[in-house]
Symmetry: C4
Subunit: 199 residues, 4 copies
């Protein structure tokens, strides 16, 4: 069982998640420039969720490039990740309308945190499903970025009940950390010349 | 005619079905933790429908891995399955808002039952479209899980008019039965080394 | 330029068209069996539009199996077809709510007719883009089914202003004619053994 | 890293963008021919946005046919393009309802302009990611069409505050310019026989 169809299905789900959020951008009743101001928070929350989904797509892309076979555990770990990501549009709408309120900011961070945890689980499932000398083990290494992300999200969720701006700052830092695709895997791939085989 | 495009189209439809259900999760007017309580039933119904669609995607994936050629009957059996699955978002919304009412619980089970029947028909169409010594015949065997599912759904639909919790229990049992992907096919595939050829 | 990506994009658009129509099935306020009765017309119109899109997907699938190369004219003929098909959800909603009214029935038929014309144009574009001895020319032949469809749709649209049931009957007859995938192409393909090459 | 999955994901997003716009075509309350008149502007704006997305899909298709490898910069340049294109449905709804108002016409043009800029950046990222003797450099050349488009959009946005019809004319001219797929690339491809390799 190769990963082609798992990737195609995930691409479909991610493409829909990233796009349906735009349906929340309701065109204003008025036709003045000022009438666009009230939708700025919704727009900014859309922009950030677009970036988060983009990061997950990039990392998913990298991860499955070095995945050679699929099993039931990997299939379900992947669906688990997609489930949490599919809740992002819901949380985006809520935070877009209430970005100064504690609970929506906490919920947004909670769903991002669970997505990060789900990605971590997926990575472990893939490593477990391959042999000892699997390239991914070297490529992922200690997965420092993944662990920092989960820590920052957890901290953001907790602090959101005290100060929403501090929480939002935590979330933005994670986005910046992940903005550059996972060069560890790219480098390891180049080293092993595996790219020519099934890149 | 190979199955590539049938799989791609099915992946697209399943990806949309599994994702549009999240549009039913309407963000609350209030911003308190309590304001999330009323949407818990909708969330739980979304979670279960996500799992059911995930199960169908997994089994569909397994089924078409060992399908070597496609004909008109298989194309239409597949569209028939997608039709019933496409009704799940509708039934999910209704049951999410009325999970204690007889008719929504019965309708939800009815659509799951018809989906199971459609999957059974698709399996038969594929077996019929292949030669005698077709690997799928061995892999599917008596298809005990499929038959148990249809029986449980039918029982659930009938009992839903007496007790909705009993009906919901039946549906959950089916989910548990299918949660693990069809290892029969995976095992048969490994045995015949077909995996290397068109896995 | 091969047709892979054109097929993938078309699959995506068709998958979305066939699935978003289900969003029009609004769950009833009441939870009685009787409360489902008012949505029966919407359900039936969904069922038929699902079948029409299914037919187009099947025929599109068959058509591009024997298409060897793509050019600008074919790309735009394909987008033209997708444009008319994308209007089917709109017409489906309107006819579902007003299946006894002249204009919605006429509009539904008009969009089906334009889709049939667009498919005809696409077929011609593909034939034109290939050599003289192109297999499709033999396979399509006089395209009797295509011409009958356009005639029946045109007749249906005109008669819908007198009697909507007569118009609906015309549309249903076309569905029945096309229900079986285009065996002409399948037969020609088998004859030329081309199936093994790029099936 | 090859471009297969990037293309598949982009196809998914573009397919959704091009299709969800049709959800804005609300079926009229009345069932007369006259009742369709108020939705004509929405329909026309849908038609034009469909054409613009179609043009981007065509050019994207051409561009990635001659892209041999992907890196992080190209991934993000592509997501940047998809982001601006994903705002087209929002702008389409607004202009469809207010095609005579200055701000909606300007916003529509602004999003088209940013999409054109994003496509330009994507092209540069791809050229930068390849060797000196990269075929795309020859194929794209001075990219006159791209530069004219950005100029026309910018002019359209500015003039929209004076006269909306003049602005709309600018936008339509760009559509006409790009309507024919990028034959430069097609010609260069034919010349280098590269089509046989990864077309």
């Amino acid at each position: 069982m190769t990963s082609n169809r798992l990737e195609a299905f995930s691409d479909g789900v991610l493409a829909i998640i990233i796009t349906i959020m735009v349906l929340e951008l309701i065109s204003p009743e008025q036709v003045t420039l000022e009438s666009l101001i009230p939708i700025i928070p919704t727009f900014v929350s859309y922009l950030f969720s677009f970036i988060y989904i983009g990061i997950y797509w990039n990392n998913h892309h990298h991860l499955f490039q070095i995945t050679q076979k699929i099993n039931g555990r990997i299939l379900w770990s992947n669906l688990h990740l997609l489930f949490w990501l599919s809740l992002i549009p819901f949380a985006t709408t809520w935070i877009g309308e209430n970005y100064k309120a504690h609970v929506p900011v906490a919920l947004y961070g909670f769903i991002l945190m669970m997505s990060a945890v789900a990605f971590f689980i997926l990575q472990r499932s893939i490593i477990k499903g391959h042999e000892e000398n699997f390239i991914l083990r070297t490529a992922v290494g200690r997965d420092l970025k993944g662990k920092i992300s989960i820590t920052l999200y957890t901290f953001g969720v907790l602090i959101s009940f005290l100060n929403t701006w501090a929480a939002l700052t935590c979330y933005v830092i994670v986005a910046i950390i992940w903005f550059i695709p996972d060069s560890r895997i790219e480098k390891t791939l180049d080293g092993s010349k595996k790219e020519n085989v099934n890149g």
